[in-house]
C-alpha cells in the first residue's frame, strides 16, 4: 500500500456497525477509537463539514457525516509526526496536527491556484492534515491514541538491520584483511603451528624464522585474495 492520504468509501452497510469503515479484520485490524464531530482540514484547503474519526490499529479513517461518498484514510506508516496544536497563531481552532509522508518525496504545496479545483485536488500530495474535534478536551486522548497506534506500526522492512548487513558485512571482511597485515612478528604463525615456537626459542633461529616468514607470506597472500573476492562479491 502506498504512502499518503487516499479516498475511503467502504462503509459497513448493515448491522450494529453500520456506517463504520470496513476494516481488514481478517488481518487483525481493529477499531480502537471513535471520535464524533471532527472537522478535517487537508493541507491549505478549507475545512470540510464535520465527520466521524475512526482510529484503527492500522490507519486513521475520517468519514463525512453528510456525504456517504466522502471519506479519507491514511495509514499510521505515513504519519510522520503528530502534535496537539493549541496556539491560535498556528491554527485558529485547537486541533491534532499531522504531517504526512507522501510518495513523491518533494512536497508540492497546494497553493491558491489549486483551491478552485479542490474537488479534483491530488489527495496523494497532501502533506498536512488537521483534525479539529468539536470538544477540545478530547485532544490529549486523541494524541495518546495516535501515539499508541504509531508504536503498533513500525517500519515493515527493518531498515536498520538491512544497513547493518550492508555496512558491517564488507567492514568485517576488510577488518580481517587488516588484521592479517598488521599482526606481524611471531604471534601470528604461532597460533597456526605451536610446535614451531620450540624451535624458535631454542636458538635455531635462522632456520625457524625463514620457515615462519615463508608461512606468513603465503598465508597472508592467500587470505587477502580470498577476502578481496568476498568483498567484491558482497558489493555486487
Amino acid at each position: 500500500m502506498g504512502l499518503g492520504l487516499r479516498h475511503f468509501t467502504d462503509r459497513v452497510q448493515e448491522g450494529e456497525c453500520a456506517g463504520q469503515p470496513l476494516l481488514d479484520s481478517e488481518n487483525g485490524e481493529e477499531l480502537l477509537h471513535v471520535q464524533q464531530r471532527v472537522v478535517i482540514v487537508l493541507g491549505n484547503l478549507p475545512p470540510e463539514s464535520p465527520g466521524t474519526l475512526f482510529i484503527s490499529s492500522k490507519q486513521v479513517v475520517w468519514l463525512s457525516d453528510v456525504d456517504v461518498e466522502k471519506g479519507y484514510a491514511v495509514d499510521f506508516l505515513s504519519i510522520s509526526l503528530h502534535a496537539v496544536s493549541r496556539d491560535p497563531e498556528a491554527y485558529p481552532s485547537p486541533c491534532i496536527y499531522t504531517q504526512i509522508e507522501t510518495q513523491g518525496g518533494e512536497d508540492e504545496e497546494l497553493e491558491d491556484s489549486d483551491s478552485e479545483a479542490s474537488e479534483h485536488f491530488d489527495l496523494s500530495k497532501i502533506t498536512e492534515m488537521r483534525l479539529v474535534p468539536s470538544d477540545p478536551s478530547q485532544l490529549d486522548t486523541l494524541f495518546n491514541v495516535f501515539c499508541e497506534c504509531a508504536e503498533l506500526n513500525p517500519e515493515p522492512h527493518d531498515e536498520l538491520d538491512d544497513e547493518h548487513e550492508w555496512i558491517f558485512g564488507p567492514d568485517q571482511v576488510l577488518g580481517d584483511v587488516m588484521d592479517a597485515e598488521t599482526e606481524e612478528g611471531p604471534d601470528w604463525p604461532i597460533y597456526e603451528n605451536p610446535a614451531n615456537t620450540i624451535g624458535y626459542a631454542n636458538g635455531e633461529h635462522d632456520l625457524a624464522h625463514s620457515v615462519l616468514e615463508l608461512q606468513i607470506d603465503d598465508q597472508r597472500f592467500e587470505d587477502a585474495e580470498e577476502t578481496d573476492q568476498g568483498a567484491h562479491g558482497a558489493h555486487r
Binding site: 510522520s80 503528530h82 502534535a83 496537539v84 496556539d87 498556528a90 512536497d107 501515539c147 508504536e151 531498515e159
Partner: protein, 93 residues
C-alpha cells in the same frame, strides 16, 4: 539498541530533532521507544520564518523513521559511557 538506551538517558533534556523534510523541532525529550519514535514536550520550530504556520505546540510525536538527526545537549554526552557502550555493542553484535 545502543541508540535506544542512549536516548533514554537524555529524557528530560532539551534536544533538537531534525526531520528528513528539513523541519527542525526543539523540545524537552519526553520519551523514546525501541523504534526511536520520539516524544517531545514544550516544542518549538527552530526555523520559524521558513515554517510560519507550524506549531508552537505543547507536545509532539515524531515517527522514528523520519528523523534525520538528533542534536544533543553538550552536557548530555558522556564520552566515556559512549566509548564503553560502543565497544560492548561491537563485541556483542
Amino acid at each position: 539498541m545502543l541508540f535506544f538506551s542512549y536516548f533514554k538517558e537524555l529524557v528530560g533534556k532539551e534536544v533538537t530533532v531534525e526531520l528528513k523534510n528539513d523541519l527542525a523541532i526543539r523540545g524537552i525529550l519526553h520519551s523514546v521507544d525501541q523504534y526511536l519514535n520520539i516524544k517531545l514536550e514544550n516544542t518549538r520550530v527552530v526555523d520559524q520564518d521558513k515554517y510560519p504556520h507550524m506549531l508552537s505546540v505543547r507536545n509532539c510525536f515524531i515517527r522514528g523513521s523520519v528523523v534525520r538527526y538528533v542534536q544533543l545537549p553538550p552536557d548530555g554526552v558522556d564520552i566515556d559511557i559512549l566509548h564503553d557502550a560502543t565497544r560492548r555493542e561491537a563485541r556483542g553484535g
